[in-house]
Amino acid sequence: MKALLMKDCFVLWKQLRLFIFVMLVITVFNGEFGNVFIVIWAAMLPYTSMAYDERSKWDQLAAMMPYSVRDIVLSKFLLGWLCAGAAALFALVCQLLQTVLGSPLAAFDPLSNLIGLCGSLCVLSITMPMMFRFGVERGRLTMFLLIFLVCGAAGALGTVVVDGEGPARLPSLLMVVLPIAAVILTAISIPLSQRFYRQKMG
């Protein structure tokens, strides 16, 4: 698992520098919407690494190396969780700094970060089995559909928070439902992804 994560980090490293810059711009200038959006976007980084894997036919080689299907699948989930967690932390720190510095764009709101994080785990859990089953090219279609839905939802959420009076106005149902949904979807998604991956590899 460590080897697979290391490979993905090496593969993503060059892109990460640009990604961090874009994240910074989004989170500084887009308040709550930015906070939610970048976390969900970060959770999709494993798909970039999967695209590299597919292009180089890494999966065929990996199947002959001492990696189990469990390791291969879990490493992609773990990468997604790490990226989403790091993005949530990044957004939180940026917003905290803006608040401390008295920026008019400051939108320090840990709860919106939490919602973003849970939303990203849900998106990851829904899309990952499809990526393993159909490959990144075809799986991406589903992902784009989800991105549109998520962007719409994040925009709506941002409006609720910005127009309202802070976290107290956040729909309390969302605060309860999203973490539970993230746990349940992840628990279903991991074994399903393993099954799909085995099917794909024959």
Binding site: K2, S56, M64, P66, Y67, G202
Partner: protein
């Protein structure tokens, strides 16, 4: 002890199927897997490395059933080189080394660095900028740097120039100096296999037509080249396949044991034998 044992393997992909494949490779030997494109060589290799599950039949490598959970540990003893290197092209040789160090318990960084120097591979250059020869050398360096007991090579020398190929064949020969080291190699370059292998296994349309010791195979067949009338003197079962020799006569692969004593037969190469056997199978 056999290092590879495939017993009555069936694997179907719709229009193509591996059928009743039985293959054994004794420990300490080099076995060449030959066959046309689509004959099932890569599928066989994937089956014996646990990358594909057979529909029926059993496969064991280094004494362990490929479908058992214990096979995961056996993969530590198998070095694999496929027809491409299959590492993400953005990586460089140093990064590949670090990943493999976390993959294999017996990874030997000293050996790996030694191969990088020996092959003159740039350490920091991204893999995508390597030539095909350099890519294959990197894959071979990786396969040899975790002290495997079995090397599985699928078209590992395809597309390489003769000098690089010769260098790589020397490395494979070095590898088999250890008596418990074995190689299964598939290749279209039959002259390489003739140089390297102890056994030749021939796959045709998903079926194993034979797996024989190379020397016995070369003793078994001879090439007849003369007039058609003279060839007709032979028993029909002595003639495996024939073709015009370009001078108005005929060239044929003949079973030596069925040819009359004193008949002059040329030495057949592995390439001759395989080509005639394919023609014979097609004409049958």
């Amino acid at each position: 002890m056999n290092v590879i044992e495939l017993s009555h393997i069936h694997k179907s992909f719709g229009s193509f199927a591996i059928q009743d494949l039985c293959l054994t490779v004794p420990r300490g030997t080099i076995c060449g897997l030959v066959g046309e494109n689509g004959a099932g060589k890569s599928t066989t290799i994937r089956l014996l490395c646990g990358a594909l599950r057979p529909d029926s039949g059993t496969a064991s490598v280094l004494g362990v059933d490929v479908s058992s959970p214990e096979f995961q540990a056996v993969k530590e003893d198998i070095g694999v080189v496929l027809d491409e290197a299959y590492f993400p092209e953005i990586l460089n040789a140093v990064q590949v080394g670090k990943i493999m160090a976390s993959t294999y318990h017996r990874w030997d960084s000293g050996v790996y660095e030694g191969y990088l120097r020996r092959f003159d591979l740039p350490e920091k250059k991204p893999f995508r900028d390597y030539s095909r020869g350099m890519r294959m050398k990197l894959a071979i360096a990786v396969a040899l740097s975790h002290h495997p007991k079995l090397l599985v090579l699928d078209e590992a020398t395809a597309g390489l120039d003769p000098i690089v190929r010769d260098e790589i064949l020397d490395i494979f020969n070095e590898f088999t100096r250890e008596e418990d080291h074995s190689i299964l190699i598939s290749s279209h370059i039959l002259s390489d296999l003739e140089k390297l292998c102890d056994y030749i296994a021939f796959l045709h349309d998903g079926r194993l037509l034979f797996c024989e010791e190379k020397d016995r195979l070369l003793e078994k067949y001879g090439i007849f080249s003369d007039t058609t009338a003279q060839l007709e003197c032979l028993l029909p079962e002595a003639i495996v396949a024939r073709e015009p020799n370009g001078y108005g006569g005929v060239r044929a692969l003949v079973r030596r044991e069925l040819a009359p004593a004193g008949w002059q037969l040329e030495r057949a190469s592995v390439e001759d034998i395989i080509l005639f056997l394919v023609k014979g199978a097609k004409n049958a």
